[in-house]
């Protein structure tokens, strides 16, 4: 087989060199965890990219598959003592494969187009909704139960004395998880913010495209979004989107994940929330924990109102990974099965109390986990916090 | 390396003998069944002792009580029963009451020098406390009953003598549950319906542990007759592991020279 020397030239030699092959990343990689094969590990993938780039190995179907099956959860990055910037290696490699073989991912591209453009998404959502009502949708399809009556935003009137915050509503999050937006507004208004919503004007943030390796489409999406001014805040309640927007507006300190913002007000929330009896198990989205380094914030916020239980898997990915569960369903489901085993272990362990909720701050995880059979209600942490507000009714916005 | 003329002589005798019986102080009776042939015994004496390294090298024929006398001065010990020689203890894996769980002997022998059946000298291990250089012949030699050679030198890890060592006993039915709650007692053993526990360590810790126990009384070390007898060694003489043992014997003593009667009892004549 002739070896093509022209691959992965965009991957920087310096990034590849930081990896010393020690293998400390292995257990933090969900695809290595379920396969036990070096091919599906961060160390393996780095090694493959390096060797293909150096012309020592040809880009065989196995190499392509190894790269395609990376969920890009970035669980390996915080685990790496050498500080390998894995995203700087895998992202250009994936993007290159997609740009070289455009036709290969045509279904995925079409799918992503549909769910990230507001008009087509609404039509698609309606179709799914009808199908759900007619019980024609397989239970396992990772779409939450939809309703004809989409809850509406009821925003407080503008008040110049209040700090303004823009809620980034996004695409799927808005069409399928509008309730989480409304809960977010409720909380923010209770904390004295004046909230605006980004709506269709901004549309999708392009995180799904970027994550899938479609850099061109992602760039198009990102162009529609205005860089937040230094005196205003953009708050995002989808971990995947907040991670992506922080990257788009690199250096901007005004893009915040909702958990980050709420955590700043933890003492106010201690006053505003009622203590409840239920126990919440946290599933940490990769883009929150590994990419943004937000972990204890969610736990401490939920602990104001709930008893909190945690998984013992170092924040291993659930397999959703943006569009990963569509493009690599076999691997995604294997990863999810493992996650469910971990969840079940906590639910059924003698030492923990009954688990009432599973909280995850990302729509991808929420919907993908909903597609599996878990005995607990799966919710966004914001919803749990909003439900626990003492003065929930007086703040308006909730139907 | 050389251990001097005594060992050189033993090597020569080993080389010219057709049958060899290895003996120590004959304190355990393990070597009472004798065959025809020469009787070889390892020399005795302390080769080197470095208290600060917690390590002692001795000829294998040195009695354990002599070793402990030497160690006493630096408040150290080797925690195995004071019968017979160190070579005998190693060859018969005599842990004493420290249960097999702690495996005191195999884990504390750091080096062994052995005269092989052909009279050559081989060594395994080293004079350091941690060592994974090469295959572990020491584990094989501990409990090998002289079937793989005459052990002439042993380097042992020593340990500081604990501030307090106290035996307690109980016949109460709750004894087992109570003892399993204790933090790492040195010895737990059952003998004639009584449970015996050896608690060692800081004086106050041992006192607290004793207070924590209910229905136990202080006692002396139980006098059990646990001297190792080959006939008591409840180990299989069949199956795949046994065939590996036979293969090892064949490699180490192809002429069936060493401790024939023991070898034959264990089905290890090849």
């Amino acid at each position: 087989m002739s070896i093509d020397h022209s691959f992965f030239q965009l991957v920087q030699e310096e990034d590849l060199n930081t990896c010393v092959n020690c293998g400390l990343c292995l257990p933090h990689c969900p695809t290595y965890r379920v396969t036990g094969e070096d091919l599906y590990s961060p160390r393996g993938r780095i090694n493959l990219i390096r060797s293909v780039k150096h012309g020592e190995l040809s880009l065989t179907k196995e190499v392509v598959h190894a790269l395609d099956t990376c969920i890009q959860c970035m669980g390996c990055e915080p685990a790496c003592p050498s500080g390998v910037q894995y995203h700087a290696i895998i992202s250009p490699a994936k993007a290159e494969m997609h740009s070289r073989w455009k036709w290969r991912d045509i279904t995925l591209r079409c799918g992503l187009y549909v769910v990230t453009h507001m008009r087509s998404l609404r039509i698609f959502t309606l179709a799914v909704l009808l199908a759900q009502k007619l019980k024609m949708v397989p239970k396992k399809m990772p779409v939450p139960a939809l309703s004809f009556r989409q809850p509406q935003f009821h925003l407080e009137d503008e008040d110049a004395s209040k700090m303004e915050v823009l809620l980034f509503t996004g695409c799927v999050m808005d069409a399928w998880y509008r309730k989480v937006h409304i809960d977010t507004i409720t909380l923010l208004e209770a904390l004295g913010y004046s909230v605006k919503v980004s709506g269709d004007e901004y549309g999708c943030c392009g995180a799904l495209h970027e994550h899938a390796g479609f850099a061109d489409s992602a760039a198009r999406m990102q162009k529609k979004i205005q860089r937040p001014q230094s005196n205003s805040m953009m708050v995002v309640n989808s971990a995947g989107c907040s991670a992506s927007l922080k990257n788009t507006f690199a250096g901007s300190r005004t893009v915040l994940d909702i958990n980050e913002l709420l955590f700043r007000h933890i003492t106010d929330l201690q006053r505003l929330l009622v203590r409840r009896t239920e126990t919440v198990l946290i599933q940490e989205p990769c883009h929150l924990r590994h990419v943004q380094g937000i972990s204890r914030e969610v736990k401490e916020l939920l602990e104001i109102a709930f008893t909190v239980a945690q998984l013992e898997d170092d924040g291993l990915c659930c397999g959703a990974g943006g569009s990963f569960s569509f493009s690599q369903p076999t691997m995604a489901q294997a990863v999810r099965d493992r996650k469910i085993e971990e969840i079940d272990r906590v639910i059924h362990s003698n030492s923990s109390k009954t688990i009432h909720y599973l909280a995850s701050a990302n729509p991808g995880c929420l919907s993908f986990l909903s597609g599996a059979s878990i005995d607990v209600e799966i919710v966004h942490p914001v919803t749990l916090l909003a439900q626990s507000l003492i003065s929930q009714n007086s703040t308006g916005g909730v139907q | 390396m050389s251990f001097g003329s005594a060992v050189d002589d033993l090597q020569r005798q080993m080389a010219i003998s057709d049958a060899v019986n290895i003996v120590g102080l004959n304190s355990t009776g393990a070597s009472t069944v004798r065959d025809e042939g020469s009787v070889l015994k390892a020399p005795s004496g302390i080769l080197s002792y470095e208290p600060d390294e917690l390590m002692i090298s001795v000829f294998a024929g040195t009695s354990i009580s002599d070793i402990n006398d030497e160690l006493q001065g630096a408040k150290q010990r080797i925690p195995i029963p004071e019968w017979g020689t160190i070579g005998g203890a190693v060859a018969t894996r005599r842990n004493g009451l420290r249960d097999s769980y702690h495996q005191t002997l195999p884990n504390n022998v750091l080096r062994c020098s052995v005269i092989a059946a052909d009279g050559s000298l081989y060594q395994s291990g080293g004079q350091v406390v941690k060592n994974v250089s090469g295959f572990d012949l020491i584990k094989l030699l501990v409990g090998s009953w002289g079937l793989l050679g005459l052990i002439v030198e042993v380097t042992m890890r020593t340990e500081p003598i604990p501030q307090v060592s106290q035996w307690v006993q109980s016949a109460a039915p709750t004894a087992i549950a109570q003892v399993s709650d204790l933090y790492r007692p040195s010895v737990v053993t059952c003998f004639e319906g009584n449970m015996y526990v050896l608690l060692e360590g800081h004086e106050k810790d041992v006192q607290q542990q004793i207070l924590q126990l209910d229905g136990f009384s202080l006692c002396e070390m139980p006098l059990t007759n646990n001297s190792p007898q080959l006939t008591n060694v409840n180990r299989s003489s069949q199956g795949v592991p046994h065939s590996i043992e036979r293969a090892i014997r064949k490699e180490f003593d192809p002429g069936n020279k060493l401790n024939k009667s023991i070898a034959s009892q264990r089905g290890l004549l090849t």
Partner: protein, 469 residues
């Protein structure tokens, strides 16, 4: 698990033995700098499948090699001349845990840290804690008789393995335990670096978590004073549960990553941990404090919480990886010297590195005298490899001259097999070979490792490219 790929199947083991270049390329490597030449790789999930793979390799006239997570540093898992790699990572079930007897049966692919994590609720853990414990497999621990910081008081892997189920090179399966034979075949098998067969199930001892722990971080103005303090602590009759040293360059590299509050102004730091019952911990830590101050300690901190302790250990255990922040390549050595020789050998090591114009850092198990000098380099620099090889050999030589041994925990593998003669006589090696022959008369299980080339002892030899010797 087949993820929709079509592999190039061999006839008999259709779909079982993978032979594509990408996979072979990856399983040809471990955490050392060597590159092997495997002919195929398979991932058995049961003992019977391991047995089948071994028999298949035999029938084909192939050699075979067991592989765990590939975190070994001595090249023990590097497949030589066309071995079948039998990768055990899919055999990762904890078969049973007996909380009362404090034992567990695990499969070889179970990760070391996963077992302790699972038994934490019952107040138990698996004592061997190599620095790679989050990634390395228990099967690999058995093969290498792994150590770790806490082996100072707990003993190495072999002290914690009660029984093994093994597939022998003949293809037979048997249990090796205290009852199965007169000779301690279990003990002989542990540390045999995969050359006696493949462990397919392992009965481990679990030990009680200590009720009290005191973890101290002590800074010193010189490596020499730190090393003297180590000797003095042990000589005082204190056996800490762990006694580790890090020199200034590695402390700085690690601190940048973990932020554990290590003393950045110290030339060397010790991590001293004492555990056990309350009063022994109290008295022991007090004595340690006295001793280190006698040796001119410049700082003394005690971990105030479990979180602080965890951070200290994270810093210690991920130290090797943090080196890439300084140079892209490293060669991590592993020798043992008598404790009293620590200071002397460390200064010799530093001289050797200076002579070869290499940077060296030290992070090691001082309490055991187990040195881990790390030579750092960029292999793209011309001629650097020769210098690294020379320095490595010199470090081995000075360690042996000080009365030490070749390896404390990484094993011999390919890396040090040709140094074996520096430590052992031909006759010593012959008897090691005899033991191997009893388990593996044809020499088909992980050939070419441990025993040196060029004598009756070694397997017929071909050395993989990139190897050290």
């Amino acid at each position: 698990m087949n993820f929709g790929l079509t592999f190039e199947y061999s006839e008999e083991m259709s779909g079982v033995v993978h032979t594509n270049t990408a996979e072979l390329f990856l399983v040809g490597q471990d955490a050392s700098n060597m590159m092997g030449s495997p002919a195929g790789v398979c991932y058995p999930t049961t003992t019977a499948e391991v047995q089948e793979a071994v028999r298949w390799a035999r029938a084909k006239g192939m050699t075979f090699i067991a592989r765990g997570a590939g975190t070994g540093l001595a090249g023990g898992a590097i497949p030589t001349d066309g071995s079948l790699v039998i990768c055990l990572t899919k055999m990762n079930n904890i078969r049973s845990i007996d909380v009362h007897k404090r034992t567990a049966w695990v499969e070889p692919g179970v990760l070391n840290a996963d077992l302790s994590r699972r038994t934490a609720r019952d107040g138990l853990h698996f004592a061997p804690d190599p620095s790679s414990q989050q990634s390395c497999t228990i099967g690999g621990n058995v093969a290498n008789n792994s150590g770790g910081p806490h082996c100072l008081s707990e003993g190495v892997t072999s002290a914690h393995i009660l029984a093994l189920e093994v597939v022998l090179p003949s293809g037979d399966v048997c249990i090796l335990d205290a009852e199965s034979s007169l000779f301690d075949l279990r003990g002989a098998f542990i540390g045999s670096e995969g050359m006696f067969g493949i462990a397919t199930a392992i009965e481990v001892r679990l030990v009680q978590n200590p009720p009290h722990i005191s973890t101290m971080v002590v800074g010193f103005a010189s490596v020499h004073e730190g090393a003297m303090a180590v000797s003095a602590i042990i000589a005082h009759g204190i056996i800490p549960s762990a006694l580790e040293m890090m020199d200034a360059p590695i402390t700085r590299a690690v601190e940048e990553y973990v932020h554990a509050g290590f003393p950045l102004d110290a030339a060397a730091m010790l991590i001293v941990e004492i555990d056990g019952l309350e009063n022994s911990v109290l008295d022991g830590s007090r004595a340690v404090k006295d001793i280190v101050s006698r040796f001119g300690a410049t700082s003394f901190q005690v971990a105030q919480s479990q979180g602080e302790r965890a951070l200290i250990w994270k810093g210690r255990k991920t130290a090797f990886g943090a080196i890439a922040r300084i140079q892209p390549n490293y060669y991590l050595h592993d020798t043992v010297v008598p404790r009293k020789k620590l200071a002397e050998v460390l200064s010799q090591v530093s001289l050797i590195a200076t002579e070869e114009h290499l940077q060296v850092m030290n992070v090691f198990h001082a309490g055991d005298g187990n040195l881990h000098p790390i030579l750092m380099f960029d292999k793209r620099v011309d001629g650097v490899m020769d210098r690294v090889h020379r320095a490595g050999a010199e470090i081995v030589r000075v360690s042996l001259e000080a009365g030490g041994v070749l390896s404390g925990e990484h094993g011999i593998g390919l890396e040090k097999r040709d140094f074996m003669r520096w430590m052992f006589t031909e006759n010593d090696l012959l008897f090691q070979q005899k033991l191997r022959s009893a388990f593996d008369p044809e020499g088909i299980s992980n050939p070419h490792k441990v025993l040196p080339r060029g004598s009756g002892c070694s397997d017929m030899s071909s050395i993989p490219p990139g190897s050290w010797i």
